[in-house]
């Protein structure tokens, strides 16, 4: 049972607008994807295009990320998966010359025009490929962000055990919270990274190839953790491991780099069961069956 705080539910009056009753997601030139009329949307990406300076990296992305589920972004290298992921919490602000056009609505608010980036990145946390420990104790790693958010001491302390439990790490570290976090194994460090993210009570967790640096046993633990977290959190994961996408995700988005213009575009978005069983687009089938290129 995850210890998600009741305060994470949207307050009255700030509810996200209900998605259109029969939203047909259209991707120019691609096979129409199915409607998601019955699912609540957490992230609504509308006609998103993105540039790194003069280079267009994404074009016309339309995607409705369902709330409380795991959505995987798959596709060959260079198709814009990580770029798309990093738009969701405005990480591209750290890259000079990067700009986005379109709309990315999370609970009705367009993050592309959000001014409060600290709040955005609290709400939309990120776990990176290489697990990284701050050069401090395990306890202080978790407490770092809540303290900087100005939380009361009791709330900070509560967040430490809560987030370590939710990240399935508490039993392994509870007796050494004051030890340096760098002493943890790779798999434990990645769970620590997830705990750091959970400590500030996000709504969305973005994961950019979270297991690519881990051994198979650690990978399975992270995948199990992801399944446990979904429901309480909306998770978007970029992965090169198609079997992982098939194992853990509820929905999968397949992206491809347009061969001449070289921008990334969304080819197909469907429930994972459907995409890996009967994909609608031939390019999707070629990719997932390893016949791409």
């Amino acid at each position: 049972m995850l210890s998600r705080r009741p305060s994470e539910k949207p307050e009255a009056g700030s509810q996200a607008p209900a998605p259109p009753s029969a939203l047909q997601i259209k991707v120019p030139g691609a096979t129409p994807v199915r409607e998601f009329a019955d699912q609540s949307t957490k992230i609504s990406i509308r006609d998103l295009s993105f540039w790194y300076g003069g280079f267009q990296a994404l074009t016309g992305i339309n995607l409705e990320v369902p709330a409380g589920q795991i959505t995987a972004l798959i596709g060959p290298s260079g198709c814009g998966k990580s770029t798309l992921l990093r738009v969701l919490n405005r990480m591209y602000d750290l890259v000079g010359g990067a700009r986005a056009k379109g709309a990315v609505l999370i609970d009705g608010e367009d993050v592309l025009s959000t001014r409060d980036l600290l709040e955005l990145r609290r709400k939309v946390g990120m776990v990176f490929q290489r697990p990284t420990a701050f050069p401090m104790s395990i306890r202080d790693n978790i407490a770092f962000a809540p303290e900087r958010l100005g939380w009361a001491t009791t709330r900070v302390q509560e967040s430490i055990e809560r987030s370590l439990r939710d990240a399935a790490l508490w039993e392994e570290v509870k007796d050494r919270l004051d030890k340096p976090a760098v002493e943890l194994s790779g798999g434990q460090l990645q769970r620590l990274s997830i705990a750091r993210c959970l400590a500030v009570e996000p709504d969305v967790i973005l994961m950019d190839e979270p297991c690519s640096a881990l051994d198979p046993v650690a990978t399975i633990k992270i995948e199990d953790l992801m399944r446990r977290l979904s429901g309480a959190y909306t998770i978007v994961i970029v992965t090169h491991n198609m079997q992982q996408a098939a194992r853990v995700s509820d929905h999968t988005a397949f992206m491809l780099m347009e061969p001449e213009q070289r921008y990334g575009e969304l080819i197909e978005f469907a429930p994972t069961d459907q995409l890996f069983n009967t994909p609608r687009d031939r390019r999707t089938e070629d990719y997932i069956t390893g016949r791409f290129g």
Binding site: A246, N277, I288, G290, R291
Partner: protein
């Protein structure tokens, strides 16, 4: 070509399924010939050669499992492998029906000869054609042809029902136990020929599943 090894493995499995299908066709033809010519030796050969079909079925199952475990196929590749296993199971059952017809022929050979109704030859011919044509549909991965083959099942059903009624009527008039036994045996042979055609319909459904991912009921 990407995934060269995987393609070779799929191709090899497909060839084994077709080999099994071809063997099944021969088994039905031999069983029908044995029945029509009251050839006990040919009937015995059909029974003995069933072990070859069983061995092929076992091989297909084992190899399909290995390919699935090693290659982790998805989408059409996975459906293809599953279809091979399903179809092999149907072919194995068809082979069993041929064996039953052969066993019953041995029974008939030991009883006084009687004229064999033309419907038996026709049913056997249709059953063999069904098996042959469904294997062609599998070779071409043609779901439309598969559906057409399945649609012809009605003809065999009609023949079976006609035979059944007539033979049961004759049984009511039978004078002795030998005649009753012969008629009962003939009813069972007709039933097994009809079941061969039903199994071909199942294979047609597996081919449709392979192509579309949809489970449909045909016939």
């Amino acid at each position: 070509m990407t995934r060269e090894l995987f393609e070779k493995e799929l191709s090899a499995l497909r060839e084994t399924v077709l080999e099994m299908g071809s063997k099944v066709e021969s088994q039905i033809a031999d069983a029908a010939t044995a029945m029509q010519k009251r050839d006990g030796k040919l009937a015995d050969r059909v029974r003995l050669e069933d072990s070859q079909l069983n061995a092929l079925f076992q091989r297909i199952r084992e190899e399909a499992l290995v390919v699935i475990a090693r290659q982790q196929p998805v989408a059409r590749d996975l459906r293809l492998l599953m279809a091979f296993v399903y179809i092999a199971a149907e072919l194995e059952r068809i082979g069993d029906y041929a064996v039953r017809i052969a066993r019953m022929t041995v029974t008939l050979v030991q009883l006084p000869a009687r004229p064999l109704r033309a419907e038996f030859g026709l049913m056997a011919h249709l059953a063999i054609r069904q098996v042959h044509d469904i294997l062609d549909a599998l070779i071409d991965m043609n779901e439309q042809v598969a559906q057409q083959v399945a649609g012809r099942d009605d003809e065999i059903d009609r023949l079976y029902h006609r035979l059944f009624e007539d033979l049961v009527h004759e049984m009511a008039l039978a004078d002795d136990s030998d005649e009753t036994l012969a008629l009962t045996t003939l009813v069972l042979i007709a039933h097994n020929l009809e079941r061969i055609a039903d199994r071909v319909t199942n294979v047609a459904e597996d081919i449709v599943f392979l192509e579309t991912g949809q489970v449909v009921e045909l016939g």
